[in-house]
Amino acid sequence: MAFQRLYKVTMDSPVGYRTVNQLADNQADLRSLMFLEHGANELLFKGTFVGGANPPPDWKKLGRHDLTEVPRGVARTLKLSAFAGFGTFSNGLAWTGPAITACYWVSTGVYFLPVIGLSRFWGKAQVYADSGSGFTSIEPQVRSMVAQPASGGGNSGVGQPAGLQVRLYSQFNIGAGGAFTLQDWPFMIALYGQP
């Protein structure tokens, strides 16, 4: 039953069963409207989950938008510098929304952000100056990486989980025309995808 406006009561007006049912129908109707694009097709956990199971990604919580149109998560990194090598947790996330929990420095200008719970995913990234002005750079190159085994795969057989690879390049100099080279910068990224 569709929404119908209800009325408050006075001391002399009874609340009959039809009126009560209508309020219940209004509530069910609003719930259905919200379910269309807010967590309807995903696990209806309300802060708890079946014992023994891994917690679902945060976007599967009740009320989260579950649209491909909406980013699954965002993150902003600090300017990362060299670490011991791939696999070392960079601790370089300055701020993050749901779904993105780590950013690994792979090599100069190359980063990796693991992604869970999405069968297909993409990323939109933006590099930014950490200070000063006159910053010029081509936009970050983001690739969707499938999981690779430890042997016979990329990364010299090290293996990697699924996630986004981000590559950042040097500033292009106004009027100079030099080649791009990989370079470390802080960046921001939005993750899109489908479960």
Partner: protein, 343 residues
């Protein structure tokens, strides 16, 4: 498996009593729905933001466009909490000021741009973020000045761009004061915290869902009508001969992707999509023809004049940097895009 915890309701029939447990169940149903809504929406006004606004890090606080008109003059459209800080001062430079009541921590922001320069019809173009400061951000746009196949020299450009601004969620606001729960022997009255409160809360929550204090945020069927939620998306790939739409939104679907020239593709959408548009494109060039080289560099421009046409179409121009030659070519590639609309 998930559990649906929405309190069920057994339809009352004539002579059924409205007992205290039924009354309290109606209260719980309201609370459940309000909790769902509060997950990613404001329940109350906060600063300049209104009750009903989307309120999550992954949903842009706002999406708009910045563009340059004759004069020249810097302009912005579609923003609620960001404004052009200064008039045009130098080619390609624009500074935006942020409403501090909504953007209280510039460190907890993500800004994303999509270049929409008219020069993108012929050359790659890019918009950079120069600085994010306490009160706003500065942007600079550039275009390649060498001919395609000629070099990698760039210069400033009074280009247009789309901008999405993500920020930390604001305090949600207080939940509605619910009706007072009833015990055995209680009866319904005309007190403000009784049946009247339940009716009022029901209407208020519906109002917050349908409108966000500025305009509609969801339509009567539950679909988003807000500027900050994209109206469509498409996953498009180049098979070597034609472009194909691998997948797209169920609403405002991308019907066709037509190659109009090498690296120039036009997307056509359902005509009920509201213009003008703010597209954001993610190029996935590495999936085409085994371009697995880690040093592929791509650029995509969606010229402003070609995203404001009706019926709803968007033109993309794709460019690839040839590292061995240090120049650019226009080339076809796979991509994913989302498109926002102004309402």
């Amino acid at each position: 498996m998930g559990i649906d915890t929405f309190p069920p309701w057994v339809t009352k029939v004539r002579k059924d009593p409205l007992g205290f447990s039924s009354f309290n169940r109606l209260i719980n149903r309201f609370r459940w729905t309000e909790d769902l809504f509060a997950k990613e929406h404001l329940l109350a006004d906060y600063g300049s933001a209104k009750a009903g606004d989307h309120n999550a890090a992954e949903i842009p606080r706002e999406v708009g466009s910045c563009y340059v008109t004759g004069g020249p003059t810097n302009n912005a459209e579609g923003f609620r909490y960001a404004t052009v800080a200064y008039p045009w001062s130098s080619t390609g430079f624009i500074q935006m000021a942020f409403d501090s009541s909504v953007y209280s921590s510039v460190d907890q922001m993500v800004l994303l741009t999509q270049n929409c320069s008219e020069a993108g019809i012929n050359k790659p173009c890019v918009t950079n973020i120069e600085d994010i400061g306490p009160t706003g951000a500065a942007f600079s746009s550039f275009q390649l000045t060498d001919a395609l196949g000629g070099g990698n020299t760039w210069d400033v450009d009074d280009g247009h761009f789309c901008l999405a601004i993500h920020s930390a969620p604001l305090p949600t606001g207080a939940a509605a004061t619910s009706a007072s729960a009833k015990d055995k022997g209680d009866f319904v009255s005309d007190r403000a915290d009784d049946w009247g409160a339940m009716v009022q809360n029901d209407a208020d929550l519906r109002r917050k869902f349908i409108t966000d204090g500025v305009g509609d945020s969801h339509d009567s069927t539950g679909f988003h009508l807000a500027r900050e939620v994209a109206q469509t998306w498409a996953d498009v790939y180049w098979d070597g001969v034609v472009y194909r739409v691998r997948d797209t939104s169920t609403r405002n679907a991308c019907n066709t992707a037509t190659q109009l020239g090498t690296g120039h593709v036009q997307l056509a959408f359902n005509s009920d999509w509201v213009l003008p548009a703010q597209p954001f494109v993610m190029v996935n060039g590495s999936s085409y023809w085994g371009y697995g080289a880690a040093n592929d560099i791509w650029n995509c421009v969606t010229p402003r004049s070609l995203i404001l046409t009706a019926p709803a179409t968007i033109d993309l121009y794709l460019y690839r940097y040839v590292s061995a030659s240090n120049w650019w070519v226009r080339e076809d590639a796979d991509f994913f895009l989302t498109v926002y609309s102004s309402f």
